[in-house]
Amino acid sequence: MSDPVLDENTANTTERNETEHVDDADELVTESLVEEVSIDGMCGVY
């Protein structure tokens, strides 16, 4: 099996909500099982 080519969006850490990029047809390739969020990235903390 060839090495998977990582989609740039998933290889680099990003604070963007990646679930917005979900593509029904290509879920295997573009869906990342890890999502990074800033510890400061949630509303309701001052």
């Binding site: 090495d3 998977p4 990582l6 099982l33 890890v34």
Partner: protein, 97 residues
């Protein structure tokens, strides 16, 4: 041997890894939250099987061995390895020397 390229670093599935000393995993209904007390980075691990693999890393001779122990089906290897490469890049998991 499978090498997955994640940014500048290469992730080698025949190496031994473990959860970073300064990182903590907390089980959640969707998988787990991982927090690194040093870098202050927070990651959502969105699949329970991925969490199993991460927890198995420390006692496994290699990443490949951890995947075997957790009975990761062949079709899921790429996604799991990709996720692990990302976790290595963000220092949530580290090489065992």
């Amino acid at each position: 041997m499978t090498t997955v390229h994640a940014g500048a670093a290469s992730f080698d599935a025949s190496s031994a890894y473990r959860l970073h000393r300064q990182a903590e995993l907390r089980d959640e209904p969707f998988g787990a939250l991982a927090y690194h007390f040093g870098t202050r980075r927070l990651s959502f691990l969105k699949a329970p099987i991925l969490v199993d693999v991460v927890r198995a890393l420390g006692d496994s001779v290699s990443v490949d061995a951890a995947l075997q122990r957790c009975a990761v089906p062949e079709s899921q290897r790429p996604a799991i390895l990709q996720a692990l490469a990302g976790l290595a890049a963000s220092q949530m998991i580290e090489l065992r020397t």
